[in-house]
């Protein structure tokens, strides 16, 4: 599976995507995923769009690939209640989520789980804000979502 948007994300971010050339479709997926990873909330697979929108990290995100992999491993260890002192279990989880032969460095299963974190994150986002009219409003509201999380 490649990067796939939550079913309702495209219309939600439609205005920002259309009006802001520098704003990428991947930004929408990423903003949702980050919230999902924070919350450790997986959404349902059938709430994803039928088709993926990209199969690799866009240029602006390539440097973040290892961080996303790290956040995924951290979230999955926690969500699956894996004993972080059990070396074999931690290693097994990493083997499951990583696949260096793919351009993303993530396994098929790893990307699918990230997509489902995006679904979980979008639900939070949708609760917290109306579809943004411009990228500035989106960034300000998104920052507010992270306020008080320290």
């Amino acid at each position: 599976m490649n990067f796939t948007l939550p079913g309702k994300a495209r219309p939600f971010f439609k205005t920002v995507t259309e009006r802001t050339p520098k704003y990428l479709m991947f930004d929408s997926w990423y903003l949702c995923t980050l919230i999902g990873l924070r919350e450790r909330t997986l959404g349902a697979r059938d709430e994803l769009e039928d088709e993926y929108f990209i199969d690799h990290y866009p240029e602006d995100f390539k440097a973040q690939a290892d961080f996303l992999a790290g956040l995924l491993i951290d979230a999955e260890l926690d969500r699956n209640r894996i004993d972080v002192n059990d070396k074999a279990s931690v290693e097994r989880e990493m083997i499951l989520l990583l696949d260096p032969s793919r351009t993303t460095g993530l396994s098929e299963s790893g990307v699918e789980i990230l997509n489902r974190y995006a679904v979980g994150g979008f639900a939070k986002l949708e609760d917290a804000m109306l579809p943004p009219a411009n990228v500035e409003d989106l960034l300000v509201k998104y920052a507010e979502l992270w306020g008080g999380q320290d």
Binding site: R38, F67, N85, L139, A143
Partner: protein, 628 residues
Amino acid sequence: MSVALDEGPRWTLVQMPNGTGKTTTMTLMRAALTGADFKPDEVAALRADDDAEQGLFELRLVIDDKPYRVELHLDFVGRRASYTTTRAQLQGGGSEEGWQLPPLLRRLLTPEFTKLFVFDGEFAKDIRSEGKNRTTRAIRTLYRLDQLDTLKTEIAKLVTKEQESAAALTSAKEQKGVTRLANALADAEASLAKLKAKLKSHRAERSRLVARQEEIGGRIADRTAQDEKFAARKSRLDGELSTLTIRIAELSADSLAAVRSPAKVSPLLLARLRGLGQRLTTLQLPKTISQEFFHELAHATHCVCDREIGEKESAAIVAGAKKYLAEDQITIINRMKRNVRESEATGAEFADSAGELKAKLRERRSVNQQLEQLQQEQIASGDDELKRLVLEQRQNELRLETLDAEVAQLNTSDKLTQILEKLGPRNNIPLCQAEADLAKRRLAAATQTVKFTGAADRISALVDAVAAQALDNLRESVRVATNEKLARLVKGEPLRVARIGSSLELASRGVASKGGVSEGQSLSVAYAFITSLLGAAPYRLPFIVDSPAVSLDTRVRREVGDVIPTLFEQMIMFVISSEKDGFADAFYPREDVRYVTIWQDHGEESQMRDGLDEFRRFHAVEPGEASA
């Protein structure tokens, strides 16, 4: 017993007393010619005596100068019958299972048709029975008119195929269905034209409004500039707005860049990443030993501990290697740990940038409010023109918003937007276009189907007309030929066929058109009909008949005996001794006649003699006759 009748004589007369198997032979001949199935009790009825376990009937044929042999095997114990066919075409002339005469003959030799030339006496009666339709069926079969039915079946199959291939698009098979689809297409195209016109009109209106807004903006600026009291304030606020707009753009770009780095989004995420790195370091992960090490080890002959590695050990090592990270997986994890460790991010970058962005956006709103306030003050000071311009500007803004929303609705091809905004073919151009395209394809398919079906109907009707006309012509030609023969067979009697319909209808003075004829007359009519029928047919068939003259009086027998021999290329006649007078003796002066006499002696053994002398001499006592 074997009786060979294939050695060339044109006429073969087989004299057999009643009860010696003439009817059985005829039945078996018909079966061998048609490949008829036998029921168990029919097989049992053919058993000569209780000692017989098997029976064999062999029919040798020459078809288009090629020899064929059909064998009918009778298993009296299992009460089963089966066929084998030997053909010259087969390699080595071998036999094959089943009844395998040429396909053309297989279609011709129906049980009913075979009764015409392996003559069944019942036919003579049925030929004049209403309802049985034997005459018409015989003509249809012999002259292959049934092939026209096959043609119609093929046409029907093509129509079905055409309709099935169109069924994916439309179920319309008739003109009214085509009309319905044409109306649907017209509706869709009318809607599409309407929507496109609406889009064009909206775009034109939008262009006008945008131009007008620019004009209004300029005129408002002019009016403010003209009033010294407001000009300075306006200039200052415009400057602030410009500065803010530039800063907001910068902060927007900074915030977007910051949010794209998880380590800069939140201290929480940064802490999690660092925590993971530390945990992996504590666990000594990734291990310095990788999957690749074990794969190499599995292929070595000895372990590092010097123990020998056999197949079993090798398989166990390969299986165990899956528990270890691959070298490139180790690289990813090490890189992640290093990036986190070396990252200078604080986790507050995005919050800081977005916080300043929020403040600047608030400032911009404030400046915009001040500009509005300024405008209101100017209007309050009595500038009605400005009031009118501002009002128009706001109305235009609202209208532009509405137009933009409607243009987006008309134009969007995004499936999710179409679903969420409940768009359909009546308010969305791509959906309407798709509907029109589908309607067009459906109409094309239905039109083609209906056209095809119509053409097929016309061809079928033509085939029916041809078949009916051909049947009429054939009936008439057979009728005329039949009457010519009847005139020769029953001289002096006005026995004639008036019409060949579902039966032979006779017309004669003193004889009712149906019934009222003697058995001999019936037989004469049947012979005349059959010889006329077969005589002009595209096939040359033998004529095999059982007791051909037994029911004819002596005068008619002689006529039949004189006429019949000339009608067929090959004739095989089973006769009883009483038929010699007046019938068989008509053949005595002819050449190319074979005479066979078959009887059972007192020990019930079958005996056979060839030759005219034995034929003439033989006299059996038939039931009802006094012993000679």
